[in-house]
């Protein structure tokens, strides 16, 4: 890995993020005119939290994708395709429909999501991984099935929820960044930074696993431990962003893939690049989603879903040929 060149690219990526964030926050506002108090309020109370949420959710989903792809050694794996997002969503929806968040606050939503996500991953672990031998087709198929099941369960929850809670659930379920609030952002920010830090400390271990589990073990890596920590941490991060934004799919698939090509197949650089790339991608998607059918707004999950689904098919075809 060429460290200098990687650093330059990271700095460029960072500036792209700043520019897009600035454009996104100030779009259509007249900040420097005299009677712009309303615009300032919009900026501080609506646009800024929303941009911060895009950075945190996009970044954390993207590093989860990178880490999961690393331990499962397959580029089609990410929180969404594994059904982890779905599991988290069911957990959050159950909590919302029981109005538990009104009693226990937002952390309960995150915990409920985490519970759902970790249950899905445990299920995958039991079914698809035995003796370190991983059947990737089974893993992906079951992941997709779990996504289907969880979207049906979400419908079920909607159907049995009372009308008071219905609005909140639907609003959240569509996958949108309009739910941005400062206290949620702070919680999500702490979890994301914690996750990024831990993942980064495990970068070399993930690098070692790319040589195969057997070779990784003889390079001094406790394979089972790395898999477990990655799985638990990804569940936590996914749950945290899903509980705020709803299901936003495919970011964890697209971004690490592009970053591997743009940078290098080394997790020491991949985690940072994926975080920045995920933040940029979600912010751009949100901009498209909020402007394309103006004055109405499209859920951002729709945009990432369409772009990501096409990308999934593209990678799948390419890997099959290779």
């Amino acid at each position: 890995m060429n460290k200098k060149r990687a650093l330059v690219k990271i700095i460029i990526l960072f500036f792209i993020l700043i520019i897009i964030a600035y454009f996104n926050i100030t779009y259509g506002l007249h900040l420097f005119e005299k009677s712009s108090d309303i615009d300032k309020t919009i900026l501080l109370n609506l646009r800024l939290p929303r941009a911060v949420l895009a950075i945190l959710a996009g970044g954390s989903l993207s590093i989860c994708g990178a880490a999961l792809q690393g331990v499962f050694r397959n580029s089609l794996v990410e929180p969404y395709t594994l059904g982890v997002s779905g599991g988290a969503a069911v957990g959050v929806a159950v909590a919302l429909s029981l109005s538990l968040n009104k009693i226990f606050g937002v952390f309960l939503l995150i915990s409920a999501g985490f519970l759902g996500a970790i249950l899905v991953l445990l299920l995958l672990y039991v079914i698809a991984i035995k003796n370190y031998k991983l059947d990737i087709k089974t893993l992906l198929l079951i992941g997709v099935m779990i996504s289907f099941i969880s979207s049906s369960v979400l419908m079920l929850i909607l159907a049995v929820s009372n009308t008071q809670n219905l609005h909140g659930i639907i609003f959240w379920m569509m996958g949108s960044l309009s739910n941005a609030q400062n206290n949620l952002n702070i919680a999500l920010g702490c979890i994301t930074l914690f996750g990024l830090l831990i993942f980064y400390l495990f970068a070399n271990k993930l690098n070692a696993l790319q040589f195969g589990y057997d070779k990784g073990a003889t390079l001094g890596v406790n394979v089972e431990q790395v898999i477990k920590i990655t799985v638990i941490l990804s569940s936590l991060l996914t749950a945290a962003s899903v509980s705020v934004t709803g299901i936003i799919g495919f970011i964890g698939l697209i971004i690490p893939h592009i970053m591997r090509k743009l940078f290098y197949n080394d997790f020491r650089i991949l985690f940072i690049a994926s975080f920045l790339g995920g933040a940029i991608f979600l912010m751009l998607s949100d901009f498209i989603a909020s402007k394309i059918i103006y004055p109405n707004e499209l859920p951002v999950g729709v945009v990432t879903g369409i772009l990501g689904g096409i990308f999934f098919i593209y990678i799948f075809r390419k890997e099959k040929r290779a």
């Binding site: 890995m1 460290k3 035995k130 003796n131 980064y200 400390l201 970068a203 070399n204 690098n207 070692a208 790319q210 040589f211 195969g212 057997d214 070779k215 073990a217 003889t218 390079l219 001094g220 890596v221 406790n222 591997r260 290098y264 197949n265 080394d266 020491r268």
Partner: protein, 274 residues
């Protein structure tokens, strides 16, 4: 002779049935061992158990006369290096593949390699004559070249024992000889202990100082190639007609396969003469 690795009554394998049934084996320093045996005889299981990839169900292993599992994984990886049959992770540069061999020597949570790590990597690349590949990607190299890089990476680990799982299985004759010559050189010049699974009995007899013949999860016989590569022993283990001879150049034993047709006609000739 110093004992470096000792297995006592090892029962090991995967969940469905045990594939190793009570292995007793001592690996001595600076020897070149070949593990041979039919498919399913437990060669890979034995290698995986000796490298710590697979934990045995029962029995004990001693590494440098200390309990194998009293070392943690990282300590073991400073003494044991492993080269797998197929080279994975081809999407990186040769230098980074070799530097990965330095990972066991990193301090916990050390993120980047030091100048010393690069020095060691370069030292072995020079010995292996692959310095000019340094910045090539692995996928640009041929299968044989990739295997050379993989062995170089394992050497950069500076292990006491090098384990290899059929390093020549899918290579052409040129690279089979090249890689085994290389291993023999490392064994003789650096005193490196090598344990290697080999499918090809002739290559095993030609290169190894000691052979371990496995059959049905147990050691059928171990010893010098001359003691193992005899038609009586091999016919019993491989359940087929085998003719052995002596290699005219190296004076090592060799195996000649005989087809059913040739066998029939040679027997026929004998009967006719009677």
């Amino acid at each position: 002779m110093t004992k470096i690795l000792r297995l006592e009554n090892i029962i090991s394998g995967y969940e469905k049935g045990f594939s190793l049934k009570g292995i007793n084996l001592t690996i001595y320093k600076s020897k070149f061992y070949g593990i041979i045996g039919p498919n399913g005889s437990g060669k890979s299981t034995l290698l995986k158990t000796m490298t710590g990839i697979l934990k045995p169900f029962s029995g004990s292993i001693f590494l440098d006369e200390k309990d194998f599992y009293s070392y943690n994984q990282k300590q073991r990886s400073k003494k044991i290096a492993y080269v797998s049959q197929f080279v994975e992770n081809k999407d990186i540069k040769v230098i980074d593949f070799i530097l990965a061999g330095r990972l066991p020597h990193f301090k916990s949570f050390q993120l980047f390699e030091t100048g010393k790590d690069r020095e060691i990597a370069h030292k072995y690349m020079k010995i292996f004559d692959i310095l000019h590949y340094e910045n090539r990607y692995m996928y640009e190299l041929s299968g044989g070249q990739q295997q050379v890089v993989a062995i170089c990476s394992a050497l950069a680990q500076e292990p006491e024992i090098l384990f290899l799982d059929e390093p020549t299985a899918h290579l052409d004759l040129n690279y089979q000889i090249k890689i085994l010559d290389l291993l023999q050189e490392l064994n003789e010049n650096m005193g490196l202990t090598i344990v290697c699974i080999l499918h090809d009995l002739n290559l095993a007899a030609e290169y190894c100082s000691d052979l371990i013949l496995l059959n049905d999860g147990a050691i059928f016989k171990s010893g010098k190639p001359e003691e193992i590569i005899t038609y009586e022993i091999l016919e019993e283990v491989y359940q087929t007609v085998i003719v052995t001879d002596i290699n005219p150049v190296s004076k090592k034993p060799m195996v000649l396969p005989v087809s059913k047709n040739a066998l029939k006609s040679s027997l026929g000739v004998k009967i006719d003469k009677k």
